[in-house]
């Protein structure tokens, strides 16, 4: 590590922070130091451990081991309140302002002078807010309601709140900007970058972004995370974008040459999408997937691939463009129709959207496509159990208890059941998978991958939103890269063998 250990200027020091979630090792022995007046860039792929680290800094998670020092004093964050008291403020991607209150209230109502005997001191609040706003050079009127502000102005309010004056850090706050630019226009990004430079005079900044050029422009030091580890901590002037790419990805994985089903020239795709657009999410997306082929879509936060996947399943609307299944354009596309046409969707939010907790595994498996478990509207529990048992054996679900509440299985086994729910359809045509391996142990991940391949070789068209680039390269017959709502590259894996770096360069 290149960090100088000058304890006078050290605002925050983390030593050997470790955090596990079940079998997932989210943070491995992370140590870092941030000095007064520094802007730190934090980068890493999805799942590299950035967000866990931020949640520990903001007191939402507590580390399993390791220590946190603020201004040289050892401290523990038991909740968000402790972190705020230590002078750490976050500007989230999703904004956390009270939109029905004024700018001033959002910034300063937490301060001690804000009210006396329960009576609000509007004058004091407005003055304190104006003072904080002037520090970051904003001329917003403190008495404006937040709901009347533009997005970038709201972000200014968030920043002002994050550095509000009454922190105990001796006037040296640490502001964490979590992907602040991903929803901004270019001109607004410029404003934000100016603010970041002003902030340096008052405190320190951790700037999280997936746009490397922004990181290079704004940060003094750049920290790279990969697989829960802090793999690099470099002064900006000593690195190049290419080096950072490589650090983020680790080894430069190349596409493995596996057999790909060749499509006949006149073969009709199972699903074809033309110029699909949804304002602010994705635009002019065209792709088609043939039977027995798998298309992997990669992209970072805000690339629009999740929204696209949901649109294919009829869960979200699109503004223009068309979807065709087996050559016929769909109209009034919604989930019920999609399910009827054999489209399946494994959502990323397994517990909320993927399954019905409280129902047994057997009930979940037969909820959508009951097969022989139902004759017309009537359900036969014995037949249902038989189907469930078959799937439990095929997928090696444990514990081997089909009547157990699905909520009480481990994540990996839940995902197997979710897969079984869709695979139980005899007419599976399109399988859309949104991060199907998220949070799974290696064994379960392997089972799920095998089932995806099996469904594919049985003639389904598969669209996979993978967790990692390696996964995309390994599984995909085609790999599509999305950036800011548009397809930035398409690789036909039967003809090309791109590396993870090739993908990443088109993502950011």
């Amino acid at each position: 590590m290149t960090t100088k250990a000058t304890s006078q200027t050290s605002v925050l020091r983390l030593s050997n922070i470790d955090k596990k979630f079940g079998q997932t090792h989210a943070l491995k022995n992370v140590s870092l130091e941030i000095n007064h007046g520094e802007v730190i860039g934090l980068i890493g792929e999805n799942g590299a451990g950035k967000s866990t680290l931020l949640k520990i800094l903001t007191g939402i998670y507590q580390p399993d081991s390791g220590s946190i020092e603020v201004n040289g004093k050892s401290t523990k964050f038991r909740g968000p309140r402790d972190s705020v008291a230590a002078g750490i403020g976050v500007v989230h991607q999703e904004q956390s302002l009270f939109t029905n209150l004024t700018v001033a209230e959002n910034i300063a109502s937490g301060s001690k002078v804000a009210s006396r005997f329960g009576i609000y001191r509007w004058g004091q609040i407005n003055r304190a807010a104006a003072e904080t706003l002037s520090i970051i050079g904003s001329s917003l009127d403190p008495s404006t309601k937040v709901s009347n502000l533009s997005f970038v102005d709201r972000q200014m309010v968030e920043i002002a709140r994050a550095i509000r004056v009454d922190s105990t850090m001796g006037g040296s706050p640490l502001v964490i900007l979590d992907e602040p630019t991903s929803v901004l226009e270019r001109s607004e990004t410029a404003i934000l970058e100016r603010e970041i430079r002003k902030l340096k005079a008052h405190g320190s900044v951790i700037f999280v972004s997936h746009r490397l050029d922004e990181i290079m422009r704004n940060c003094d030091r750049i920290m790279v995370m990969r697989n829960g580890e802090l793999v690099a901590d470099r002064v900006t002037s000593t690195v190049t974008e290419d080096e950072l790419f490589k650090l983020m990805v680790g080894h430069e994985a190349r596409a493995v040459s596996s057999s790909h089903r060749v499509v006949a020239a006149d073969e009709q795709p199972v699903i074809s999408v033309e110029n699909l657009s949804r304002k602010g999410k994705y635009s002019n997306v065209s792709l088609s997937v043939h039977a027995g082929r798998l298309t992997a879509i990669v992209g970072s936060t805000g690339s629009g691939r999740e929204e696209l996947a949901r649109a294919l399943f009829g869960a979200e609307k699109f503004d223009s463009g068309s979807i065709a299944i087996n050559g016929t354009k769909v109209t009034g596309w919604r989930i019920a129709k999609a399910v009827k046409r054999g489209v399946a969707y494994v959502p990323a939010e397994r517990k909320v959207e993927g399954m019905v907790g409280g129902f047994s595994a057997a009930e979940n498996i037969t909820l959508t496509h009951p097969g022989k478990a139902a004759v017309g509207p009537i359900v036969f529990p014995l037949a249902r159990n038989k189907i469930a048992r078959t799937w439990f054996n095929t997928l090696d679900v444990r514990p081997n208890d089909i009547a157990l509440d699905l909520a009480r299985f481990s994540g990996g086994n839940q995902q197997k059941v979710v897969m079984a729910k869709w695979l139980n359809s005899p007419e599976l045509s399109v399988l859309v998978l949104d991060h199907p391996l998220r949070g799974l142990d290696p064994g379960a991940a392997q089972t799920v991958n095998e089932q995806i391949k099996l469904a594919c070789s049985n003639g389904a068209a598969v669209i996979l939103l993978s967790d990692t680039l390696e996964e995309a390269l390994e599984m995909g017959d085609d790999v599509i890269v999305m950036r800011d709502g548009e397809i930035s590259a398409t690789f036909d894996m039967t003809k090309e063998s791109p590396s993870t770096l090739d993908l990443l360069e088109r993502m950011v």
């Binding site: 038991r78 402790d82 509207p377």
Partner: protein, 337 residues
């Protein structure tokens, strides 16, 4: 100051975890045997305190007054099962009873069928608005409650409507019976068994329970959540209509302030005492039978213990709050509205 805040908040977390565990166990136990046990205990207490209760046909009395409560509660249980509530069903019962009293003489035997169909339609309108306008069900059904209540007042001119002809045919439901239980109550049991089978053995029933347990999960599993919501409210209307028939069978008349005018809270209480979860996804219509009998026993029991029978409203209100509080499963950070 910060330290003490942290301290108290960590205590809160501890006690909340413990409390949620206690609640989970209480909820499970309650759903399994609670309704039966509490009915037997109350019945025994009343029998001991009032020896003439059993000899004087006490069970018949309880069953007769439980019949309309049971039917309303079964409909409520189906709506609670999808995670919503129907505050209008008791007013539908009363409107149905009044309409039946008015038409039984002139229209005859078809009248009950027509009226049950009509109120089923009323129920499905509730369901349609809840499903498609996505409004909070309590607010919507509070509004339609007012509309049905007014309708009852208007059609009856705020007076008692007596059945003029053909009353005997309906009254037979009340006067005849099996093993001391009037047919009105037997009707309730039949509806309960059918509802139970519907929920356990049909795709629609299972879909409804899925909505109550996790509506997002149900939507993403292709369950037709809107249609099923309408069906649940329609069934609530249908059962409210049947409850209206039992009122005519028992009283031979109906009025906006007479028998059955205060079924809303007993209905909800019976569903909840019968093990139905207020947050959705859990109900057993068979247990609701015992819930309804327990609720019907409340006025008799309070009198036997020596509490003024007038206080039964207080008991209903308190029972609902206490049972829900004991059996509700909520995580410590959930937002409750």
């Amino acid at each position: 100051m910060n330290l003490s805040q942290t301290w108290t908040s960590s205590i809160e977390v501890l006690s909340n975890d413990k409390a949620s565990k206690v609640r989970r166990i209480a909820a499970k136990g309650w759903q399994a045997v609670g309704p039966v046990v509490i009915f037997i205990v109350m019945f025994a207490v009343v029998s001991i305190l009032t020896p003439t209760f059993i000899g004087g046909g006490g069970l018949t009395i309880v069953a007769s007054s439980a019949a309309p409560i049971l039917l309303v509660a079964l409909g409520q249980a189906l709506v609670l099962n999808i995670g919503s509530i129907d505050l209008s069903n008791a007013s539908i019962t009363l409107l149905g009873a009044i309409l039946l009293a008015m038409t039984l003489g002139s229209v005859g035997a078809v009248a009950p069928i027509l009226i049950v169909l009509l109120v089923t339609l009323f129920g499905s309108v509730n369901g349609f608005i809840v499903a498609y306008a996505q409004v909070p069900s309590f607010a919507l059904t509070l509004g339609t409650f007012g509309i049905f209540q007014s309708a009852a007042l208007v059609v009856s001119s705020a007076t008692t409507v007596y059945v003029t002809q053909n009353g005997q045919a309906v009254a037979a439901l009340y006067q005849s019976g099996v093993a001391g239980l009037p047919m009105t109550f037997i009707l309730g049991i039949i509806v309960a068994v059918v509802s139970w089978a519907f929920l356990r053995f049909t795709r629609a029933g299972l879909g409804m329970t899925a909505i109550g347990k996790n509506e997002s999960g149900a939507i993403f599993s292709g369950v037709r959540t809107r249609t099923l919501k309408i069906v649940a409210y329609a069934l609530s209307g249908l059962m409210a209509g049947l409850a209206g028939i039992t009122i005519i069978a028992q009283a031979g008349s109906a009025s906006p302030t007479g028998l059955g005018s205060d079924l809303l809270l007993p209905g909800i209480a019976a569903a909840i005492v019968g093990g139905t979860s207020i947050s959705g996804g859990v109900t057993n219509p068979i247990n609701v039978v015992f819930g309804a009998m327990t609720v019907a026993l409340v006025p008799i029991a309070t009198a036997a213990i020596g509490i003024d029978a007038q206080a039964q409203n207080l008991v209903y209100g308190a029972v609902i709050i206490v049972v829900v509080a004991l059996t509700l499963s909520r995580s410590k950070n959930s937002i409750v509205k």
